[in-house]
């Protein structure tokens, strides 16, 4: 494992303590916004593991999120399975789907891979409406799905707990040589092969991990909302929100997607009173563009640059 220092541990601890105290400091309305930010952070981290690291850009991530969400919703709502069982099962099913999602990566790269994954999402969108609508709820989806917690505070702690466990585990995983190898694939896959590594195995593992996170996020998300609708889930805007969160925050960093998710969710929320319609997306798109042009490595790199400058100044003083 490389590059974990006491400073990292301290920063994570400060962040966790701050987030645990947050319900004492903000309104319940703000907490509800943070809940959405937590879920977006989970989805963004999941996307980052595949696309941010390996460079295989997925436009069909809702396919994985949707499988997790639909599986637990059907099992618990239609078959009365306890949520404690339906969620792990949903995660397993999503990981199997992740293997399916991985197959095109064996043959295609770049924009072709992105289009194939987009087709996966569209296929899923059509299938849930047509195949066994008695189970999936067809075009209307399902409502009345069991919720795991009541009230903004409890739901906040649940979503934050899930997000932080996922974020820290993924951050640690990416600090291992596995994470280094995945980043290397994103930069030069041929060279990784030349070093004797099986990029197929590495990518498969990355897809499985990403699917696990997407499945967990999707399953908890549906049990938070208490409903599921195919049009909202398999929506291209949802995909773009995930991707923009990662790009604004800083791809291939785990912390970056979290930053991006919080920034984006609050930006959209605070723009709502002034621009209630689709104009909001124009503003957020413009801000994303400016950040991306100014610093392609995202907010994370901007923060790191300031930190490095501070250290240089500090070193100069001493």
């Amino acid at each position: 494992m490389t590059g974990i220092s006491w400073r990292h541990v301290a920063l994570w601890a400060v962040f966790i303590i701050f987030m645990l105290l947050l319900p004492e400091m903000v309104s319940k309305g703000t907490l509800r916004t943070v809940i959405f930010a937590n879920f977006l952070a989970i989805f963004a981290i999941s996307w980052d593991v595949i696309s941010g690291r390996t460079g295989y850009i997925s436009f069909g991530h809702p396919f994985l999120i949707g499988i997790g969400a639909y599986t637990t919703a059907i099992l618990s709502y239609r078959f009365g399975m306890p949520v404690g069982l339906s969620i792990p099962l949903a995660v397993c099913v999503t990981m199997v789907a992740g293997t399916l999602f991985f197959l095109p990566a064996l043959r295609v790269k770049g924009s072709y891979f992105a289009l194939v994954t987009l087709a996966f999402m569209e296929l899923m969108y059509q299938l849930v409406q047509v195949i066994r609508p008695d189970l999936t709820g067809g075009t209307r989806g399902m409502s009345g799905v069991t919720t795991l917690a009541r009230g903004a505070v409890n739901n906040y702690y649940l979503s934050f707990g899930l997000m932080i466990v996922i974020a820290v585990s993924m951050w640690v995983l990416m600090k291992t040589r596995f994470g280094t190898a995945l980043s290397a694939i994103g930069m030069n896959e041929e060279s990784v092969r030349g070093s004797g590594l099986s990029t197929t195995r590495l990518k498969l593992f990355a897809f499985m991990v990403s699917a696990m996170v997407a499945g967990l996020g999707g399953a908890f998300y549906v049990h938070y909302l208490g409903s599921i609708a195919p049009r909202a889930l398999f929506d291209i805007n949802f995909v773009f929100t995930i991707i923009v969160a990662v790009l604004i925050g800083g791809a291939s960093t785990i912390v970056g997607p979290m930053l991006g998710a919080f920034f984006l969710t609050f930006l959209l929320e605070y723009l709502r009173p002034y621009l209630p319609g689709a104009e909001r997306y124009f503003i957020y798109g413009s801000i994303a563009l400016v950040i991306y042009m100014y610093q392609p490595k995202g907010l994370y790199e901007i923060v790191m640059q300031q930190w490095r400058k501070y250290r240089v100044v500090k070193a100069g003083e001493t």
Binding site: A181, R193, S195
Partner: protein
């Protein structure tokens, strides 16, 4: 039996034949150089040893055939490949670039890392620097270092001096020679720079349009008028 035997090797890109019936024997501890112009098939030959191309014929390392083995197994057998320096991971630190090479030799990471830093002290000074910000010579050192992290018994080096300043070429040659003398590592180099090749190699193979046109000891070939005329321009 030679350490590395390349027997009747032909290589193809689709239907196009890039190498024709190549025969090369390399003894353990030798440095040999494959020289030739662009498109002669030098890189293809090294790629073929790593099973990166479609081939016919046989390649054996200590009598074990490598031809049907997957790349990870070939590297596991002790074949390290230093590709052209453009094949680094530009946004990763020097040390992380080296560690990617260490996946197949996890037990000897520290030992290999200290060998690399001993050979190229400049890399140790810059181990936290992004490799994309290094000079051409330093990148070449990272490329060689990454191959050494695989604990090779046979090191393949693809055009190590391409586009480098003469002073850096001398440093690279010295490092390779030192590596060969101190560890007994067998090295196969491809080069267009005949001066560099003759400076370090014991045997030379001249490749032209996928065929070996001439071969022999460095002394033999450097006294060959035909070769001198073709490659030294004298």
């Amino acid at each position: 039996m030679a350490f590395l035997e390349i027997d009747q090797l032909s290589a193809f890109y689709g239907k196009a034949r890039a190498l024709s019936e190549i025969n090369i024997d390399v003894e353990q501890g030798d440095i040999i150089a494959i020289i030739g112009a662009n498109g002669a098939g030098k890189s293809t030959l090294l790629d073929s040893i790593l099973n990166l191309t479609q081939t016919q014929g046989d390649i054996r390392l200590e009598e074990k055939s490598l031809t049907d083995l997957p790349r990870s197994k070939i590297v596991g057998c002790g074949v390290g490949y230093a590709t052209e320096r453009f094949n680094l991971f530009p946004y990763m630190s020097v040390q992380d670039n080296l560690l990617v090479g260490a996946f197949t030799a996890r037990d000897t990471i520290e030992q290999n890392l200290s060998l690399v830093y001993k050979l190229f002290p400049r890399l140790q000074e810059r181990k936290k620097q992004e490799s994309g910000t290094l000079s051409g010579g330093e990148r070449q050192m990272v490329s060689l270092g990454r191959a050494l992290m695989t604990s090779p018994r046979l090191l393949l080096v693809d055009e190590p001096t391409i586009g480098l300043a003469p002073r850096v070429c001398v440093d690279i040659a010295a490092a390779l020679r030192r590596l060969n003398e101190e560890t007994g590592l067998t090295i196969v180099i491809t080069e267009q720079n005949v001066n560099f090749a003759t400076r370090i190699a014991k045997y030379l193979y001249v490749l032209e349009t996928g065929k070996v046109q001439m071969s022999g000891t460095t002394d033999e070939l450097t006294s060959n008028n035909e070769l001198i005329e073709a490659y030294f321009g004298q």
